[in-house]
């Protein structure tokens, strides 16, 4: 019975939010607010569960040092007070510091060295003209796109630099087009899931 009720609620909310395609109405807003309310409630429960298991239970079992992150967490709420705003900066500084420190450990390897390594392509792949051509396009695109951002070279007004820079701009536009197409694909796929749900699970057609 609960499954059937859930199915109907889900179907009705899907239809309600779909009315947004026509225009923003109280019907679509109601569905939107229900979703936000449910997610907020769930987030609060999850957050409390996380604090409970990673701090409260440990403090209660005698691991008193876990009170420090709890105090730091409470300090973060000082941002809502104009007089005590400065207190909020300490936990944030700590969180940012830990985050940056952790990320730095793999940053150079993952985001710099490995990416530079992966940009070295062989221009002659034996027996595979397609791969060779593909790698050549990658190299020209990489160099020209980088050229677009080197303003000192462009300032020399060298015709080669300007042409490469222009090609780099078109290459980036092609990349942005690819990103845009992927964004559309994501949205379509998200809605395809809802259509499939309405047609196959709710109406049981097909």
């Amino acid at each position: 019975m609960a499954d059937v009720i859930g199915l109907w609620i889900s179907a009705i909310l899907t239809i309600m939010i779909t009315t947004l395609a026509w225009k923003d109405t109280p019907v679509s807003k109601t569905a939107e607010h229900i979703y936000l309310g449910v997610i907020t409630a769930n987030s609060i429960v999850m957050a409390w569960g996380s604090i409970d298991s990673s701090a409260i239970q440990k403090i209660m079992s005698g691991q008193i040092l876990y009170i420090i992150p709890v105090i730091l967490g409470i300090m973060a709420y000082a941002r809502y007070s104009k007089e005590n705003f400065w207190i909020y900066r300490y936990p944030i500084a700590l969180v940012v510091g830990i985050g940056v420190g952790t990320a730095m450990s793999g940053l150079v390897g993952g985001s710099v060295i490995d990416q530079i390594k992966s940009s070295f392509w062989s221009l002659n792949v034996p027996g595979d003209i397609g791969a060779s051509l593909n790698n050549l396009i990658m190299v020209v695109t990489l160099v020209s796109a980088m050229m677009y951002f080197i303003f000192t070279i462009k300032a020399t007004r060298s015709p080669i630099a300007i042409k490469l820079s222009t090609f780099g701009r078109y290459a980036m536009m092609a990349a942005f087009g690819y990103s845009f197409a992927n964004t559309i694909a994501t949205r379509i796929n998200q809605y395809a899931g809802r259509i499939a749900f309405l047609m196959l699970e709710w109406l049981q057609l097909g």
């Binding site: 395609a21 026509w22 569960g49 793999g106 990416q115 690819y178 992927n182 395809a192």
Partner: protein, 280 residues
């Protein structure tokens, strides 16, 4: 309307409801009458398949499930197909979440995967640790000593009562054979690349929504062993692995929806060229 400007203006300003309406009609029609468009398999998907296929019985597959209900249509089928493949090889699964909604979705996911049908026992062959806060610093801790960070699973069972968690031990990364990330957020993957792939040279596979793929391609294939490109990638994986599921059913709808968008893009551009573009 008879003049070029009139037609162009109309094409450039087609109403939104017409656009969405036709997409809905096209996708609903194709649900009832699938055409079976071909599903060519990309190298990115082949590499994901290879990363799972190389695992052996008893290997541990660590999974970060970071998607929420909005992306369930294409994330879940990909995850189901990969899990079925992993389970067919006797691989153990450790599931955690970095999105607060995800733990709620694990139940319906595992209902579809049906690990118990392959003799899997919760706690021994797979565990669900629930939501783990903290972002990248927590990934670093998980790879170091998972039991130091996680003391209970999603159902609040102490991790000390779960044999699989004891098997993981410390340093945890030495016991993990593969890391899989399902998420709609690129920062999650970049964090895992730094903490698992770069630090410990662990193989890493991911499924993300299509719009995240361009930002991840620079990491592929050196740091990311394979990428499932949203719903298309999930359909490719189902096709390749033989575990046919929902993604293959959705692939026709995705293709048809894309075709309708393409038609509108062409019409809009024709309208643009007949008005503003034409004047230039």
């Amino acid at each position: 309307m008879g003049e070029n400007g009139g037609i162009g203006k109309t094409l450039a300003n087609l109403p939104t409801w017409l656009y969405f309406g036709l997409i809905i009609i096209a996708m609903a029609y194709i649900t009832l009458y699938p055409l079976g468009f071909p599903i060519p398999i990309s190298d990115q998907t082949r590499y994901v398949y290879a990363a799972v296929d190389v695992l052996e019985t008893g290997d541990i597959f660590f999974v970060n499930m970071g998607y929420e209900s909005g992306t369930i249509a294409f994330m879940e089928p990909g995850m189901v197909a990969v899990f079925r493949h992993a389970i067919s090889k006797g691989v153990k699964l450790v599931i955690m979440s970095t999105a607060v909604e995800s733990p709620m979705l694990v139940g319906r996911l595992m209902d579809k995967v049906k690990p118990e049908a392959s003799g899997y026992v919760y706690g021994e062959d797979w565990v669900h640790l629930g939501f783990i806060a903290g972002g990248e610093p927590s990934y670093a801790s998980l790879m170091g000593d998972i039991n130091g960070l996680v003391t209970e699973d999603y159902q609040q069972t102490p991790t000390s009562d779960l044999p699989l968690m004891a098997e993981l031990g410390a340093p945890t990364h030495e016991k993990i054979a593969l890391v899989g990330i399902w998420t709609a957020g690129g920062d999650v993957i970049e964090g895992w690349i730094r903490q698992a792939a770069v630090q410990y040279d662990l193989p890493l596979i991911t499924e993300v929504n299509e719009m995240m793929v361009p930002t991840l391609l620079p990491y592929y294939p050196i740091n990311l062993d394979g990428i499932l490109n949203g719903g298309i990638g999930a359909a490719e994986y189902e096709n390749l692995s033989g575990f046919a599921g929902e993604a293959i059913k959705l692939s026709d709808m995705m293709t048809m929806g894309g075709l309708v968008v393409l038609i509108f893009l062409i019409l809009g551009n024709i309208g643009f060229l007949m008005t503003k573009g034409g004047k230039k």
